[in-house]
């Protein structure tokens, strides 16, 4: 596979090393002179100096081949959006993945057609929420392209679902209960599974029905 990595900070450099180790061909584009020299000393001709939002630099990196993968992982969200757009719309790159530095910009990536994004801050926030659940529900995974979310809910003692069979719970149409973890042991849910207080329930749902699922399962808080 051929990949262009735009942005040679810690993230871009690590990904480049991994891709090279896996036997792929990579060009890593870095704008800052000093950083580029470090990368060139380590990676040789894999490193390319320049601003990856300039089309002629992308062309020198081989954008017209086109690569199977472009990773826009600079520290600047505007740059990452532009790189991903040029790759997707201008050169039909197989897959463009962009890094979101500031989670407040996620909506801009979505609006502008960058469907494959990674945001370390949101990921960390998810882990924090997992430890300190707010309103009893934690988002475990967001499948943006598929329009699905995986969430986990903790069933409190007074929950409307507590003591009920799953088949008897009025769930929103766009939500399914997948598994229940009780005393550290997870089991897949069937119609006859009974929800107990203290259960951790994993559900798959379409975005927008979170509140209805929460109300059906653990009630309004």
């Amino acid at each position: 596979m051929y990949a262009i990595v735009a942005g040679g900070g810690k993230v871009g450099a690590s990904i480049t090393r991994s891709l090279l180790r896996m036997g792929h061909e990579v060009t890593l584009v870095e704008q800052r002179r000093e950083r580029f020299e470090q990368l060139e000393a380590e990676l040789g001709p894999v490193a390319l100096a320049g601003d990856a939002t300039e089309i002629h630099i992308l062309e020198r990196a081989g954008i017209a081949r086109p690569p199977e993968l472009v990773l826009a992982v600079t520290g600047d969200d505007e740059d990452n959006i532009v790189i991903a757009q040029i790759a997707q719309d201008g050169y039909r790159v197989g897959k463009a993945i962009a890094r979101v530095n500031d989670p407040r910009n996620q909506a801009h990536f979505d609006l502008l057609g960058i469907t494959q994004t990674v945001c370390a801050t949101s990921g960390l926030l998810g882990l924090v929420e997992h430890e300190v659940p707010e309103h009893g529900m934690v988002r475990l995974l967001e499948l943006r392209r598929e329009g699905l979310e995986v969430v986990e809910l903790l069933v409190p003692p007074e929950a409307p679902a507590a003591g009920k069979r799953v088949a008897g719970i009025a769930l929103p149409e766009d939500a399914r209960l997948v598994s229940v973890t009780r005393n550290g042991i997870a089991e897949l849910i069937g119609d006859n599974t009974v929800i107990r207080p203290g259960d951790q329930v994993v559900a798959v749902l379409k975005p927008g029905v979170e509140d209805r699922l929460r109300n059906a399962l653990i009630g309004t808080q």
Partner: protein, 141 residues
């Protein structure tokens, strides 16, 4: 008519002043409060903040704007802001300054109204240089 000018530097501020002088209701957005000084005795709106921040744009009245002029000092910021404004608020006209001719061409092919001062400079400088051709020998008056 209402306009929001995002980026109130040398270019944006003068666009804002021109439109205001013609009776437009103009609001400016700039990260630097000091940019207000470029507007002199300014009676229009001025919001301090980044053009990527929707709250800032909305405070400047983007939702009711007929025109948005995007002229911050960053090409990529301008490209992103202009597209977000166009798709989210759909003003009649969004015009964006892009200094890099290649990016300006790329995005104008994809529906943005781009203005590329570099391209203008290239064309003008070339034309002027061409007009300086030496007069062929023997044709002097």
């Amino acid at each position: 008519m209402k306009a929001v000018v995002i980026g109130c530097g040398r270019t944006g501020s003068q666009v804002a002043l021109n439109l205001a002088a013609e009776g437009w209701d103009v609001s400016c957005v700039d990260e630097d409060e000091g940019a207000l000084a470029r507007l002199g005795e300014w009676r229009g709106g001025f919001v301090v903040g980044h053009g990527m921040d929707l709250e800032v744009l909305e405070k400047a009245g983007i939702a009711k704007a007929d025109a948005a002029v995007v002229a911050t000092d960053g090409d990529n910021s301008n490209i992103v802001i202009a597209q977000v404004v166009q798709r989210r608020y759909e003003p009649t006209c969004v015009v964006v300054r892009i200094l890099d001719p290649r990016r300006a061409a790329f995005y104008s092919e994809r529906g943005l109204r781009t203005v590329c001062p570099t391209q203008t400079a290239i064309a003008t400088l070339t034309d002027v240089a061409r007009s300086c051709e030496p007069t062929p020998v023997g044709t002097e008056a």
